[in-house]
Amino acid sequence: MPAEPSSVAAAIETSGLSKTYRGGIAALVDLHLRVERGEIFGFLGPNGAGKSTTIRLLLDLIRPTAGRAVVLGLDSRRDGVAARRQMGYLPGDLRLADRLTAREQLDSLIRLRDSTAPLRGPLCERLELVLDRPIRELSRGNRQKIGIVQAFMHRPALVVLDEPTSGLDPLLQAEVRTLLRETAADGRTVFLSSHSLDEVQHTADRVGIIRAGRLIDIDRVETLRERARRHVSIAFGDRVDPSEFSALDGVSVEQTNDNLVRLSASESAMDAVVKAAARHQVVDLVSEPADLEEIFLELYREADDAN
């Protein structure tokens, strides 16, 4: 690997990164991934897919069985300390010093980092952190806020977040999304994992999908959303011929039941579905995004078809 100056190297570049745990469980297999500076990258997969394993490899908390990771131009093993100096991390299962207050915990973490924390004050205010009660008395959401503040407070070049909005109420989730966008707008990079497409689709530029330790797809979020089929249920005032819908491009009718039609449609077909429905009296219309598992299945089907 040529020694790129750390200011221009990719935020994350892994080559053949693999982790097999004792007992032969392959948690991560041959990961080749490049995340650019200033990008918000969503790392999606079901629980146990290898998201946290990848993140812990980037932070040198665990060691690869093959391959390597270069973070901000620094080898995650050899120059791990230097790399982590410019990183912020929110663990998926955050454990804090329960007897301390948030203020004491953040003071301690800043000293450990031996740096300044220019964003600490503003972040504590924005997230309305409870500063002076022992952490053990705080709700899960309030603890999570401490984790978010410590991950961002030193203005790191790369923020790595493992399921960042779990335990947060919708208002705070929105606040965190804003924070992610600001970070990217500042030229810094965000790498976040999630098991929910919904959580990342409003913020991430690109999404990598991992399943059973293998990266099976990297896509721009728009592409993925287009591909994700929605489940639409329409209740009509009268009985409606389902073939009006099944004839549309990109639509398949899943079920008809008296006046109710259930169908799945790609994003691009939604306009035609609504217009076709509008020719009748509509009592109710519900559209649900496909969940990630379905997207996986679709990706697998595509992979099978390609073979």
Binding site: R56, R84, D93, R99, R113
Partner: protein, 266 residues
């Protein structure tokens, strides 16, 4: 070395350390206060004389007499209770600070900071040594203060050396607990292995002279290296150095082992 890990660790332990110091002081005071009434009863020496050799050997009742200050304190404090106090403190602290924190999942965040693993172990180990040193210093000061009050008549050089022997044995086993935690992230083993080694070492140190088959193993006992009945016989100065060297080796091993393995994560 990440000073903050040391600072935070000691701050978190301040209440426990105060309690330990008060408890040990109270015990030492109690024992010392008994001495004036023992001193005058010469029958005790005759009674003790009739004890089995193994018992005398284990409890530091050697050539000396229970009715002298050094002999009394050797038997009542330095042969068993003080080593026990210091070992429980040291091993507990050594197991808690690394294996315990890792078990609780609290190391993941800290080690994601720009901290080298070996330095983190060093900071934790220094914390253990400071705890042992604080409690041992308390013992030293309390005994030095009580000496004239109860006529214990202990040579101050001997007392300091005896407490140093205590401290170095404590630090060795505390660092072994850190080392086991560094090697395998199990709090149970980090407590159990050094405790078993301490118990074995104690028995060998006390009984090797009586049981011939134990004699070749005496080199494995930190207690043998430091020597028994330290207030009457003095300690082996070079023995203290040997135990200190073993402690440093345990620390070096801990630093190396912790660098090499995967962190256990929740």
């Amino acid at each position: 070395m990440p000073i903050e890990l040391l600072r935070r660790g000691l701050l978190d332990r301040r209440r426990a350390l105060i309690a330990w110091s008060l408890g040990v002081s109270a015990y030492v005071l109690l024992i010392a206060a008994i001495f004036p009434s023992i001193e005058s009863s010469k029958e005790l020496d005759r009674l003790v004389e009739s004890y089995p050799d193994a018992l005398k050997s284990l409890f530091g009742i050697g050539a000396g007499s229970l009715t002298s200050g050094p002999g009394f304190l050797d038997a009542e404090l330095f042969s068993f209770m003080l080593p026990l106090f210091v070992l429980v403190l040291a091993i507990g602290s050594g197991a808690r600070t690394l294996a315990g924190e890792e078990d609780a999942g609290r190391l993941e965040l800290l080690l994601a900071y720009p901290v080298r693993r070996s330095r983190a172990v060093l900071a934790k180990a220094v914390g253990v040594a400071v705890e042992v040193a604080l409690v041992c210093t308390t013992i030293l000061v309390v005994l030095a203060v009580l000496d004239p009050l109860f006529g214990l008549d202990v040579a101050s050089g001997r007392l300091a050396a005896a407490v140093a022997g205590l401290a170095v044995i404590g630090i060795l086993h505390g660092w072994l607990a850190v080392g086991v935690g560094a090697a395998m992230a199990s709090r149970t083993l980090a407590l159990g292995v050094p405790a078993a080694l301490a118990a074995g070492g104690y028995l060998i140190g006390g009984l090797h002279a009586l049981a011939n088959w134990l004699d070749p193993f005496r080199f494995l006992s930190a207690f043998w290296w430091v020597g028994s009945s330290p207030l009457q016989n003095g300690v082996r100065e070079w023995g203290i150095l040997v135990v200190a060297a073993a402690a440093l080796a345990a620390l070096a091993g801990a630093m190396l082992l912790f660098e090499r393995r995967d962190l256990k994560v929740p």
